[in-house]
């Protein structure tokens, strides 16, 4: 029984948590890819910057003496989301829009976004240094240990408060996004631009507004993902670069321009990571007594050593590019 609980903790819970983070990031990437037609490499750093904003507000609130039943970082998250959305629109105006207006190739836009990545990284490290920071200023991170009343289980299912908040938040985002994209005028306009920009423009859709909305959603969700991840672990200034590859993999797996595909892709990549680094030999342990003598009992069956976790999203990406370049949800193929 203990082994099963260990499996739930390590694979199911961790996979859901990291999958939610990837999903929140991938929604932004896929929308930007679909509407502005370039891979936004600065997305990971938008997450870091968003988490930075949240940390600053949290510190202010903590020094002002506010307390709350849930972590302060979560309460101030909307502020950080709004600030990051504004920042994203600003970045677009200063760096991407001039290039877009000149009609440069999408690949040059990608290059520009890498420039923006480096600038954001530089600024964050200039003001925050390179060390990790915790969101918990004068509060405790709640950890729930749920005992399982079956058999002789001694382990408990462990989940932390920020993990619950993250999962709930992601669920709300999925529902809200669905309503936004299918029921509102603005959401429908976004889908129209994504499907056929020229047709959308001649039918009188305000593309400027669509672009702005894209950045608001992308920036806001990036800030939320960054904040929630930092709440669960710590805020590291170089967190973004490691997130970039899984997020792109998630967006491509789900099909470019498909927000729900991106969410599914995020969970696929997240679970693939936890499944492949999990030591499956643990689950065989209860059967040790009936294990045939002839075969050596395996102590370690893991597909990927933990230090090569980054290879998992990469190979998913490669596999999808080879077998199904449109992604599993039939996104646009470029």
């Amino acid at each position: 029984m203990d082994e099963l609980i260990f499996f739930i903790n390590k694979v199911l819970i961790n996979g859901t948590v990291i999958g939610s983070i990837y999903a929140l990031g991938a929604v932004g990437v896929t929308l930007i890819f679909g509407i502005l037609r370039f891979a936004h490499f600065a997305h990971g750093d938008l997450m870091t910057v968003g988490a930075m904003f949240a940390l600053i507000v949290t510190a202010l609130a903590a020094s002002a003496g506010f307390t709350a039943p849930v972590p302060m970082g979560f309460i101030v998250m909307p502020v950080a989301m709004a600030a990051t959305a504004v920042l994203a629109i600003g970045l677009d105006h200063v760096f991407y829009k001039p290039l877009r207006d000149k009609g440069t190739r999408p690949v040059v836009m990608v290059m520009a976004s890498i420039g923006v990545t480096l600038m954001l990284q530089g600024v964050v490290r200039l003001f925050a240094g390179t060390q990790s920071r915790s969101f918990y200023i004068g509060e405790q991170k709640d950890i729930f240990r749920i005992a399982v009343p079956i058999g002789d289980a001694r382990r408990t299912i462990t989940i932390t408060e920020p993990q619950i908040l993250l999962i709930v938040f992601t669920a709300i985002v999925v529902v809200a996004l669905h309503y936004f994209l299918t029921r509102t005028r603005r959401g429908k306009a976004m889908r129209a631009v994504s499907d056929n920009p020229d047709l959308a423009r001649v039918s009188g859709i305000d593309t400027q507004m669509v672009v702005r909305t894209t950045w608001i959603i992308g920036g806001g969700l990036a800030a939320a993902a960054g904040t929630l991840l930092s709440l669960d672990v710590v805020l590291k200034p170089d967190l973004s670069f490691n997130l970039l590859l899984p997020i792109f993999a998630a967006a491509i797996v789900g099909g470019i321009g498909q927000p729900f595909g991106a969410i599914a892709g995020g969970f696929i990549v997240g679970f693939a990571e936890t499944v492949s680094i999990f030591n499956w030999a643990l689950l065989l342990r209860p059967f040790r007594d009936i294990w045939p003598e002839a075969i050596e009992f395996p102590t370690r069956i893991a597909f990927v050593p933990t230090e090569y976790k980054l290879a998992v999203p990469f190979f998913i990406l490669i596999a999808v590019l080879i077998w199904r370049p449109t992604g599993i949800f039939k996104g646009r193929q470029f």
């Binding site: 490499f41 491509i252 069956i301």
Partner: protein
């Protein structure tokens, strides 16, 4: 002559700048800088043919540079008798045998459609066999790696001439580029960027964690030089002879590239870049040409990386950073003028100079700001001010990229288009 005036002015000013450095910082320092700059020039030439001539977006230069350096280390480092006397070679051969056997089995399994099994069943069998083979091979590899690390430390080198190592570095980098290119070049250019970014990180992770092969974070040194080392003939003479070697490589590469690009092949490459559809309508094999270019560029990157690591005399996998070994080279190429070989060389020499000087400059400026701030506002500077000052260079690199793309997309020495191209 008039058309080369810009080149003359640019390179003249650059020479003047290096002369100033030479007189202020001394011979040894300057030769070191120039050697490294020429190594970067080789890498930048690789990037300029990928990006400038074919429009291929490679952000995984770091991986190719690292693999080039690794191959040199493996070929030229002294042999490790502890490894060769142990069971290590036999075990490695065993792993290799398992790998070959797996490949044979997999080829068989992926040809199951000839037997007429249903597609779903085939996929299931393929996945199971793939996973089993993978576990079989990696299991043996794990065991071997642990054994080698315990008995011998790491497998050591092959004690062959360094220049063989450089060639091997180029070839291995080219082979990796071939695989990536085969997968990604038919797709949209952004995908190539994402894939190269990923492969670079994976190569770095692998080199860092495969202790049995590279000693990981313990690093390997000293790596032999193809020319006499400083211990034998002194710093300046040794560095100067190394410089002559790298400079000759740069010149040869440059001449060969100019020749190739003014040949029908080069015109075809440019035609593909300018209008892919028209070129393929004329019967040009677009994907194949792109793959060629991508592999050629990677060869140069591997060679440059090999030269760079050899010069440093130490192979340290953690020393490869996306900033220094990918984005710096991008700045060199787009600032120098993409699609122009002289531009790439100019960019490499110029940007590397600025990059090297920016370190003391940033420290000085931040020190100044700190003392001013303390004097005027009683500002308490953070302890890690120095490391933050160096991070400022990240910002400057990013700013340069965005500004050049927006205001001077052609760079200092723009691509020279022929009379007919205008």
């Amino acid at each position: 002559m008039a058309e080369y005036r810009r080149d003359f002015i640019a390179f003249g000013l650059l020479a003047l700048l290096y002369l100033v450095i030479f007189t202020t910082f001394g011979t040894a320092y300057t030769t070191r800088m120039v050697v490294e700059a020429t190594c970067y020039a080789l890498i930048a030439l690789g990037l300029t043919i990928q990006w400038g001539y074919a429009g291929l977006f490679n952000v995984g230069i770091m991986g190719l540079v690292a693999i080039g350096g690794f191959a040199t280390m493996l070929i030229s480092y002294d042999t490790n008798p502890a490894f060769w006397e142990s069971d290590g070679p036999a075990m490695l051969a065993g792993v290799f045998f398992r790998l070959l056997a797996s490949i044979v089995i997999l080829v068989g399994v992926f040809n199951l459609h000839r037997t007429g099994l249903s597609k779903r069943l085939r996929t299931i069998i393929q996945l199971i066999v793939l996973a089993a083979c993978y576990l079989w091979v990696t299991g043996a590899l794990d065991e071997t790696a642990t054994y080698i690390e315990r008995e011998a430390g790491f497998i050591g080198g092959l004690n062959m001439p360094v220049l063989v190592g450089w060639a091997a570095g180029a070839v291995v980098a080219g082979a990796i580029a071939y695989v990536i290119g085969r997968i990604c070049l038919g797709l949209r250019s952004d995908y190539l960027a994402i894939a190269t970014l990923g492969i670079a990180e994976i190569i770095k992770h692998f080199l860092k964690n495969a202790d049995w092969l590279t000693r990981g974070t313990l690093t390997v040194s000293p790596i032999e030089w193809p020319v006499p080392t400083p211990n034998e003939i002194g710093f300046v003479a040794a560095r100067a002879s190394y410089l002559s070697l790298t400079a000759i490589l740069v010149v040869i590469t440059y001449l060969l590239l100019e020749r190739a690009l003014n040949a029908p092949w080069g015109r075809m490459i440019k035609a593909i870049r300018e209008n892919e559809i028209a070129a393929s309508a004329m019967g040009k094999d677009v994907e194949r040409r792109r793959l060629e270019i991508f592999v050629f560029g990677a060869l140069l990157m591997g060679l440059g990386g090999a030269a760079l690591v050899t010069f440093a005399r130490i192979f340290d996998p953690s020393g490869f950073l996306p900033l220094n070994h990918t984005f710096l080279i991008w700045v060199m190429v787009i600032l120098g003028g993409s699609g122009n070989n002289r531009g790439a060389i100019f960019g490499a020499l110029f940007v590397y100079l600025i990059w090297t000087l920016s370190e003391p400059a940033a420290l000085y400026l931040f020190g100044l700001a700190e003392s001013l701030g303390t004097a005027l506002f009683n500002w308490q500077a953070p302890d890690d001010l120095d490391s933050r000052a160096l991070q400022m260079r990240v910002f400057v690199i990013g700013l340069t990229i965005t500004l050049v793309l927006r205001f001077a997309p052609d760079g200092v020495l723009p691509e020279r288009l022929g009379q007919d191209d205008k």
